[in-house]
């Protein structure tokens, strides 16, 4: 069965907007980010994990004592900070995209039946969502990571646990709204099965909401991953995760300020452009959707 994703006409019109209003800056930064992540091996001057203890804590090139082989200086183990920031983009995007994907999917799988079937199913699932929302997932993640040692799986599972209830609540609200619309009633009258209605009619209408929601959540996921890594319970060393890099320089603020500064700026630019894109999308597609 070929599913045609038909975004309702009204919203398509708004999608095709004159170029002038498209947020050029955030899109440019994001494009740059995705490119850096994909072409990391080509772009990065050196390897992100290759150490040379002799050239430890070199300042950035333009500061006295720095050298242009290490434009942004080196860290505690003499690793090139620029290469690590570039590879860091790959980690941040991969982690946050996977987590949002899995979390979102799980949220939708819970929300669609809840929103559509309503009644006891809805009440039960929403109770589960409320419980999930009130569990301090970060705390559980920290205990898990300290006990078993930080790992990619731990970080992703913490973010997924954090994200899915938020998706579920948002998507359920949206499904309820769409369910009341006339074209659903017509579809029922036309005899289409419940699954078909869900997939062909309801889901496409969720796409704008999901689009907006995901763009905002990816930014939050990147910050969460970086925070967990900073606390030493996120991405395990020596992977050049931005959060870990900021943590490396945490105590050397006076004598080696650049170790923490640049990865922080990388996080800032990435999340800023994601948020700007999210806002722009929300204003275009779904103005009433409150900032999640």
């Amino acid at each position: 069965m070929q599913i045609a994703i038909r975004v309702p006409a009204a919203r398509v019109k708004r999608l095709v907007v004159p170029l002038r209003q498209v947020p050029v800056l955030p899109l440019a930064i994001l494009l740059l980010l995705v490119l850096t992540a994909l072409l990391a091996p080509v772009l990065a001057p050196g390897s992100p994990t290759e150490q040379n203890l002799g050239k430890r804590l070199l300042p950035p090139a333009w500061v006295g004592g720095g050298s242009w082989d290490y434009p942004l200086g080196t860290d505690l183990f003499g690793r090139d900070i620029l290469s690590r920031v570039i590879y860091g983009a790959r980690i941040s995007l991969m982690i946050s995209m996977t987590a949002i994907g899995v979390g979102g999917l799980f949220g939708i799988l819970v929300a669609l039946p809840a929103g559509y079937l309503g009644g006891r199913v809805d009440m039960l699932l929403m109770r589960a969502v409320d419980v999930a929302l009130s569990i301090p997932t970060i705390l559980i993640g920290i205990v898990l990571a300290v006990t078993l040692g930080p790992s990619y799986e731990a970080v992703i599972s913490v973010i997924v646990l954090f994200v899915w209830p938020r998706y579920a609540r948002q998507v359920r609200g949206e499904t309820l709204a769409i369910k009341q619309r006339d074209f659903i009633a017509l579809a029922k009258i036309a005899g289409s099965s419940r699954a078909r209605i869900l997939i062909v009619h309801i889901f496409p209408n969720l796409v704008p909401t999901l689009l907006v929601l995901s763009s905002l959540q990816v930014g939050a996921a990147i910050i969460m991953e970086a925070t967990l890594s900073f606390l030493g319970v996120g991405i395990p060393p020596p992977a050049p995760a931005w959060g870990v890099m900021v943590a490396d320089g945490k105590d050397l603020v006076v004598s080696a300020w650049w170790v923490s500064l640049f990865p922080g700026i990388a996080i800032l630019l990435t999340v800023l452009s994601l948020n700007l894109l999210g806002d722009w999308l929300r204003d275009r597609l779904d103005p009433k959707l409150r900032q999640v």
Binding site: R127, D130, V131, L133, S134, I135, P136, T137, I138, L139, I140, I142, V143, L144, V146, T147, L148, G149, F162, R166, G219, A220, I223, M224, A226, T227, F230, L231, V233, G243, V246, A247, G249, K250, V253, V254, W257, S260, P263, G264, I267, L268, L269, V271, L272, N275, L276, D279, R290, Q291
Partner: protein, 307 residues
């Protein structure tokens, strides 16, 4: 009203049970406090002796049963390391965390609500553009990185504020900023967008028609309506952020709080009773705030109260 709250209490207890079980299992996944206790130079029988002493040699489900039964009786067990009652140790450390959290919460509301409202009222003017810029930027700056910058600036260069530890009001400034930075940006943007909707509404127009002074129109009629989504949504991110924020702030500024107690000491030493007690305490705090918010929500919005 009663049924509404009772439902929430039952759900809160259920959540606590899940968290408690989760943490009970997680902490025991690898390593046991006995190795820490015995130290590097220990001998085999000495480790066994310690195990018996703390009941860690009993099968897991027995330990779990004893543990749950203990909680019901309010006995959270004894810290394996200091052999003080675990909850006493947590409560001693919790005062610093609660203090920090409360000040940060007040700071967030004092900053986010007024700015959000004024940004909505003076829509499009300089204050609004400034507030929106701060809002978007605020949610992009990673709080821990901000903390480091603050330390570099205020403690390192200017030496105005103490770099670490809890000592008098000056030591509150930076940790509070780190905790509430993200929340202020979020709540402010939400307040602004909600307030904009409210100000366009008919009942605001009617309030003005009644001849009410502008401040009463905005702060009485407007704010009470705008507060509802801010409280419900705000609470959602508030409590989550405060937990993460306080752990981060406690780590950067070595604030003697419960967050750090869990990471730095208890879990590293597999001090199961203290970790479990600390998690229960934080979860209890977490769930109570959620409950309080629900009640506040129903007070604010009569449509819910009569449900």
């Amino acid at each position: 009203m009663g049924r509404y709250i009772l439902g929430h209490i039952v759900q809160a207890v259920f959540t606590m049970w899940i968290v408690v079980t989760l943490v009970f299992g997680l902490v025991r996944l690898a390593g046991s406090p006995v190795d820490i206790l015995a130290g590097e130079l220990a001998s085999r029988e000495q480790v066994e002796a310690l195990k018996q002493r703390f009941g860690l040699d009993k099968p897991l489900h027995v330990q779990y049963g004893m543990y749950l039964w203990g909680i019901l009786r309010g006995d959270f067990g004894e810290s394996v390391i200091t052999r003080e009652p675990a909850m006493a140790e947590v409560l001693q450390r919790s005062w610093a965390s609660v203090q920090l959290g409360a000040v940060a919460m007040v700071f967030t509301l004092a900053m986010a609500l007024p700015i959000g409202v004024y940004a909505a009222v003076y829509r499009g003017r300089r204050l609004d553009r400034l507030a929106s810029a701060f809002g978007i930027l605020g949610q992009a700056v990673p709080p821990f990185w901000l903390g480091i910058l603050l330390i570099w600036l205020f403690a390192g260069q200017l030496r105005w504020l103490p770099a670490a530890g809890k000592s008098g009001p000056a030591s509150f400034v930076m940790p509070v900023i780190v905790i509430s930075w993200y929340a202020v940006a979020g709540i402010m943007r939400l307040t602004r967008s909600t307030m904009l909707d409210v100000l366009d509404s008919e009942y605001i127009k009617l309030a003005r028609i009644k001849g009410l002074p502008e401040h009463s129109v905005i702060w009485k009629h407007g704010l009470k309506n705008a507060a509802i989504p801010v409280i419900t949504y705000g609470a959602l991110i508030f409590v989550g952020l405060f937990l993460v924020g306080s752990v981060v702030a406690e780590t950067i500024f070595t604030w003697p709080g419960v967050g750090r107690l869990i990471i730095l000491q208890s879990v590293r030493f597999r001090d199961f009773p203290v970790v479990q007690a600390a998690v229960i305490f934080i979860c209890f705090l977490y769930v109570t705030v959620n409950l309080f918010v629900d009640i506040l929500y129903s007070y604010l919005d009569p449509r819910i109260r009569r449900a």
